[in-house]
C-alpha cells in the first residue's frame, strides 16, 4: 500500500473506501480506428459515473484496444477501468501491456478470462489462456504489492499499482461453487468485483447472503451488475439464449406490456416506450439492490446505449457523484 493509504489512488478506489455507493458503467470501443466514438461515449458518462469499464474485444469481436480507448476516455475526463482478458495474450504480453497502461495513466484494471473466440468474429483463432483470471489477479497483485513480475524477477523502478477488479457471475453453475470462486479471487488479491447482469434478484440475494455469511463482503467491494433492457426481444434473447444468464419472466412480461396498444408499424413509439420501461426497471433494480447487505455499488452495462446511463443514475438519486 502506498503512503497515502490507497493501493492505486484511483477515483473508484477513493469512492469505495470513503463508503459511498459507487457507480460504474461501460464503454464498448468501436470496430474501427475512429477516436471520436470513444470521445462521444465518454462525454455521455462524464460526471455521471465514478469510473467506466473499457471492454477488451468483448464477445471475442475485434475492437479498438481497451488501453488505447482508456487513454481517449481519460482525455475526456472520464476515469477508465481497463478490461483485459486471458484469451488473447500470454503472460508476457499481459505484463507488458500492464506496464504500458499504468504509464499512460490507467489506475483500475478488470481481470477477465474472456469469452471463447468461437462466439466472436474470428472463430478459427487460437486462444491463449496461458493464465486464468485468478492467476491473472495474483500476477497483478504481486506486480503492485511485491514489485515482482510473474516469474519472480524484481520490477526495478515504478510498479504498476492498479485497483484490481474481477467479474463474478452469481447465476453460473454450479451455484454452490460460486461463492468459493469469489473467495479464491479474494485470496488471489482482488479489490472489487462487478457482477454479471442481474435479472433475477432473488437468486442474487441468495448469493449475497452466502457471501455475507462467509464474510467476503468485508474483503472486497461488490458492484451489482445492471443491464437496462432495450426491448422485449432483447429480454427474451437474454432469457433464452445467453449462456450463464437468468432472466425472470416478470421482466420479459413488463417489457412486452410496455408496448401494449402501440401498433407494430409505429416503431419509433415502441422504441421509446421500451426504452422508458427499460430505464424504469433499471432504476427500481438499483433501489432494490442497494438494500442487499454487502452491495457496495452498481455497474451499469448499457451496451451500445450509453445515453441511458445518465437517466438511470439520476433516477436512482445517485447524482451528483461525490467528489473525493
Amino acid at each position: 500500500m502506498s503512503e497515502n493509504g490507497y493501493k492505486s489512488g484511483s477515483n473508484l478506489e477513493k469512492i469505495l473506501r470513503a463508503g459511498y455507493f459507487a457507480v460504474t458503467a461501460e464503454i464498448g470501443p468501436p470496430q474501427n480506428a475512429d477516436p471520436e466514438v470513444i470521445r462521444r461515449k465518454a462525454r455521455l458518462l462524464k460526471g455521471v459515473v465514478d469510473a467506466t469499464n473499457i471492454t477488451d474485444n468483448q464477445t471475442a469481436i475485434v475492437r479498438m484496444s481497451s488501453i488505447a480507448s482508456a487513454v481517449l476516455a481519460m482525455q475526456e475526463g472520464v476515469e477508465p477501468i481497463v478490461q483485459m482478458t486471458c484469451r488473447d495474450r500470454n503472460r508476457l504480453a499481459m505484463q507488458s501491456d500492464l506496464l504500458g497502461a499504468y504509464a499512460l495513466g490507467a489506475r483500475n484494471l478488470l481481470c477477465l478470462t474472456g469469452d471463447h473466440q468461437s462466439f466472436g468474429n474470428h472463430p478459427t483463432a487460437k486462444n491463449v489462456h496461458d493464465l486464468d483470471s485468478i492467476q491473472f489477479i495474483r500476477m497483478v497483485r504481486d506486480m503492485r504489492d511485491e514489485g515482482r513480475f510473474q516469474c519472480g524477477d524484481e520490477i526495478k523502478g515504478v510498479r504498476p499499482a492498479f485497483f484490481i477488479g474481477a467479474a463474478e457471475n452469481p447465476f453460473g453453475d454450479p451455484f454452490d461453487f460460486r461463492p468459493y470462486r469469489l473467495m479464491k479471487k479474494i485470496a488471489a488479491g482482488v479489490d472489487f468485483i462487478q457482477t454479471q447482469i442481474i435479472l433475477d434478484v432473488p437468486r442474487f440475494r441468495e448469493f449475497m447472503k452466502r457471501v455475507v455469511d462467509m464474510g467476503l463482503h468485508e474483503k472486497v467491494f461488490i458492484l451489482a451488475g445492471i443491464g437496462p433492457l432495450k426491448s422485449a426481444g432483447a429480454a427474451r434473447y437474454m432469457r433464452d439464449k445467453v449462456p450463464g444468464m437468468r432472466v425472470r419472466d416478470e421482466y420479459v412480461e413488463r417489457m412486452e406490456a410496455a408496448v401494449a396498444g402501440i401498433p407494430k408499424e409505429d416503431k419509433k413509439a415502441r422504441k421509446e416506450a421500451w426504452e422508458q420501461e427499460g430505464i424504469r426497471i433499471a432504476i427500481e433494480q438499483i433501489q432494490e439492490l442497494r438494500e442487499i447487505p454487502g452491495v457496495a455499488g452498481v455497474h451499469i452495462m448499457a451496451i451500445e446505449w450509453e445515453e441511458a446511463v445518465r437517466p438511470i443514475v439520476e433516477g436512482a438519486g445517485l447524482l451528483p457523484r461525490p467528489q473525493v
Partner: protein, 226 residues
Amino acid sequence: MIIGEQKPLDEIMSLLGNARRVLVAGCGTCVTVCFAGGEKEAAILASALRMRSKLEGHPMEVDEITVQRQCEWEYIDPLADRLRDYDVVLSLACGIGVQAMNERFPETITLPGLNTTFLGLPEEHGVWEERCQACGDCILGITFGICPIARCSKQLLNGPCGGSQNGVCEVNKDIPCAWQLIWERAIQFNQEERLLEVQPPKNWARSRDGGPRKIVREDLRLGEGE
C-alpha cells in the same frame, strides 16, 4: 502412439496419501510399447511401493493387474468386482485410461501414475519423439510429410523463423528445425515452389482451441435394442 513417462516415486507416494490397499493397473497398449506402464512396469512399481511404504513404517498392500486397453469399456469392465478390495487404483495408463477408470468405476478413485507426454514414436530404442498434436486438420500433405505443428517450436506454417541455424531450432540444439526438414524434402522432390504459396492462418477451431472435441458416426452407432 501415445507416449507416457512414469511419475517420480515421491509424487506417487504423495498422491497415494493414506491409502493402505492399492491396485496398480497397467495398460497393455501404447504405454506397454513405450515401456512406461505395461505389465512389467506395473510389477516393478508395485514392488517399489511395497518397499517404500514399509521403509516409511506404514506398509501398503499393493497388487498389480494389467488390462489390454484401459481406454475401452469392454477391457475394463471385468475389473469391477476386484476394485472393491482396494482403497485406490493407481493407473499406469495414459490420461485417457485414468479417466475411463474414474468414469466407469465412480465409487473408486483412480490416480495417475504416469505423465502422458505426447503422440509420437520411438526414434531409436529408448528415444521417443513427438510427431502429432492432433490438431484436427492435417497439413502433412502440404509439408512433405513433416508436421510443423508438432515439430516447429513456434508452429509456423510459412517457413522457418530467423532462429533456425545449421538445421537446429533456436529453442534447443536437440530439436531439428522442422522447416529445415520440410525444405530438404521439397528439394528432394524438386517441388520447392509448393512452399512458396502463402499459407493462411490455420483453423484452430478444429484443434483443442475450439473446445473439447467429439466425433459422432451415425453409420456406426448402434440403435436402441440392437
